[in-house]
């Protein structure tokens, strides 16, 4: 994978300022970023914290693959994606996506496309802890296609 496309898992908090600095490019007129935050409710429960688990080798391989697919579909300059693993509190940054392009339209479209593909393709799981229940929850993005 070249430097234009970067996908990484991080057990440490994500710093958007640091990530954004990697994308500086005088030829680009647009940077679109997305921040996914940990929300305090889901599926009728008050969420107090959660944990992200990834299949490390497969998640990075699939993440890099989806960035290549998005870069082939949109005339973007660069894409950078960081997804958290481990324990997160309410308000923590769970995923950060940055896309640069000459113009805004393709940066917006590619950023949205990265997030949608990530949800479907990248093997990451979420375990939610609830205030009103000792049972943990395992929300799902969708049923996977049969192997």
């Amino acid at each position: 994978m070249n430097n234009r496309l970067f996908f990484s898992l991080s057990p440490q908090p994500i710093d958007p300022v640091t990530e954004k600095a990697f994308l500086t490019d005088p030829e680009c007129g647009a940077l679109v970023t997305f921040e996914g935050w940990v929300r305090n409710f889901n599926d009728g429960h008050e969420v107090i914290s959660l944990e992200y688990q990834a299949h490390p080798q497969l998640a990075v391989a699939e993440g890099e693959g989806l960035l290549k697919d998005i870069a082939a579909a949109y005339p973007i300059a660069a894409i950078r994606v960081i997804h958290r693993t481990g324990h997160l509190e309410i308000g923590d940054l769970a995923v950060w996506i940055g896309v640069t392009a000459v113009h805004r339209q393709e940066a917006f479209a590619a950023c949205s496309g990265v997030l949608e593909e990530l949800k479907q393709r990248v093997p990451i799981w979420k375990k939610e802890h609830y205030r009103d229940s000792p049972v943990v929850g395992f929300p799902q993005n969708q049923s996977p296609p049969p192997s």
């Binding site: 996914g36 992200y52 688990q53 990834a54 299949h55 080798q57 497969l58 998640a59 391989a61 997804h83 769970a94 995923v95 997030l115 990530l118 949800k119 479907q120 393709r121 990248v122 093997p123 990451i124 799981w125 979420k126 375990k127 943990v136 395992f138 929300p139 799902q140 993005n141 969708q142 049923s143 996977p144 049969p146 192997s147």
Partner: protein, 80 residues
């Protein structure tokens, strides 16, 4: 032969552990291995709701397992 099994997401909670090694009889497909552990440990997720990876790559359920393989059982994803 010996294989290593990994349980991701809700499967880890159901099985009560993330990883284990098992002695199994060859030939054995990933599908049959999951059926065996489902029966043995009362796992509730059907195989057709999961994806399987062998040695850190997505695999077909009909793959024939080899000595030393690592088999990951993966429920629907929840990243993003």
């Amino acid at each position: 032969m010996q294989v290593t099994l990994q349980y991701y997401g809700s499967l880890e909670a159901e099985r009560g552990l993330f990883e284990e090694t098992k002695q199994v009889t060859s030939p054995l497909t990933a599908r049959k291995l999951y059926q065996n552990v489902t029966r043995e440990h009362g796992l509730t997720l059907p195989g057709n709701a999961l994806r399987v990876a062998v040695n850190h790559a997505f695999a077909d359920w009909e793959i024939l397992l080899q000595e030393g393989d690592t088999v990951a059982f993966m429920p629907p994803f929840a990243g993003g």
